[in-house]
Symmetry: C2
Amino acid sequence: MKFELTILGCGSAVPTVQRNSAAQVLNVQGRLFLIDCGEGTQQQLRRFKVPYTRINHVFISHLHGDHFFGLAGLLSSFSLQGRRADLHVYADERLQGIIDFLSRAMHSRPRYPLHFHPIGRDAQLLHEDKALTVHSFPLLHRADAPSSGFLFAERPRPRHVRREMTDAFRVPVAFMHRLKQGEDFVTPDGEVIANERLTTPAPAPRSYAYLTDTLFHPDHAEYCKGVDLLYHEATYGDDLARLARETFHSTAGEAARLALLAGAGRLLLGHFSSRYPDPSCLLEQARLVFPDTRLCEDGAVFELPAARREL
Amino acid sequence: MKFELTILGCGSAVPTVQRNSAAQVLNVQGRLFLIDCGEGTQQQLRRFKVPYTRINHVFISHLHGDHFFGLAGLLSSFSLQGRRADLHVYADERLQGIIDFLSRAMHSRPRYPLHFHPIGRDAQLLHEDKALTVHSFPLLHRADAPSSGFLFAERPRPRHVRREMTDAFRVPVAFMHRLKQGEDFVTPDGEVIANERLTTPAPAPRSYAYLTDTLFHPDHAEYCKGVDLLYHEATYGDDLARLARETFHSTAGEAARLALLAGAGRLLLGHFSSRYPDPSCLLEQARLVFPDTRLCEDGAVFELPAARREL
């Protein structure tokens, strides 16, 4: 039951040799979600041995090239490799126009069902299945390239039945579904058996939030309260706060403040300006505010283990 | 006086970890020419330390993604890095429409003069300057993505004056220009001094031809007769000649036949199908026909030294 994030690129506007353009893959219980798709993403997927043909959902934060210039190549490779499965792309609605225009100009349509889903400026549910929900929410970036954050949240899973206890209390099979949902059991004699005696908690649902490119704003914390893992862009150090504001980006300290406000479990920093060959100064700045902070690097994997919920 | 080719990517339709999509840089006497620009080209330019801001001319063979999906990112990075110099792109005219549409959708125009030059279906002169000429010529690829080959040919350079001889024969300074062009000198007494006594030959002009993606056709040799360095796609081995024909590509043996027909100095093979993690079998097949054949690999550099012409 994986919940694992692989960083494919953590660079910013101009990629460097160390850091490719923005892209990540989140693996939630075997479902692969691609988040942003900068130029070279398909190469990074191969380099880091991600089974990328299983990606069925792609989320694009905004229409700056370092976040989507790799999409055309990925869509094309899927066709060439005989993909048949549906692919869902969630993005600014202009992206559909771009891909359509390109397909027409190249006389080449994807050979699999490709579905575009426009992301609006209000928070919205983009995707849900049995395992998780994905919401988008508005960030604060340039007006001509409005940016969206994403929250990936596992659904609560059913509690585990303690077979020896349900046998002892003769809980009928027909009641098991309700038992797993947390209901108490009432015996034919009217005795109430507390659910906690008959079950153990399921692993706590895990969550991941992705916030790039954006100015810092405390309201953003409302969209990712209590998130386990928070990725927040930290394009600049705190000494360049003014440049960050001018370019609609955040500093490392601001990323940490957002993590603190959200009550996040762990903070990941990325989208580093190419002026930081070694971004460890950004880590130091963030840790002053939010100690459990890590730096992204291309190929890094961050896993959230399926910890048991406290009894 | 460099004449140096750097391979940025020698893969085919789908890039692999070892081989990026098609792109090369030719350095002719310090002028940098980019030939094709598959996804990830800007990253490869940085990886192989090419001073790519000096690229002023880009030649795109045809509109398949593995030959131009890196162009949007490169154009964008030029803007972000403050480029002011003119950039010339030579390509199928549809490429201008694609870049224009993308710019409009992204509300982002290049901040430097960007000139598109359509490549026609007849052989034509695309570019010339004091050092060289660049011609395009038609290849045989899919009808919806017609492909062009390119020939880069240095202009003949003036002969070198042998100062001790011109002093001895009292050749006037005003005559030096004609002397460098190969004229004999006539003394005031009417004596004819052969040019060969007064000058040494200039280095022979060097040339490079790039042929991808294409079916083999003997006529293609006419466009690159006597070329020093010939790059010819060799997507498949000779055992897959039928697949090569079906997909409008060439085999290694066919590439070698073209080199032989053209009287090329050296043959480079590239555009290898991803089915060849090690393409050395293609090298063996080609060398049976044309011994001086080399395999491309990403990052490889092939230099043509400025050899003196035979006396």
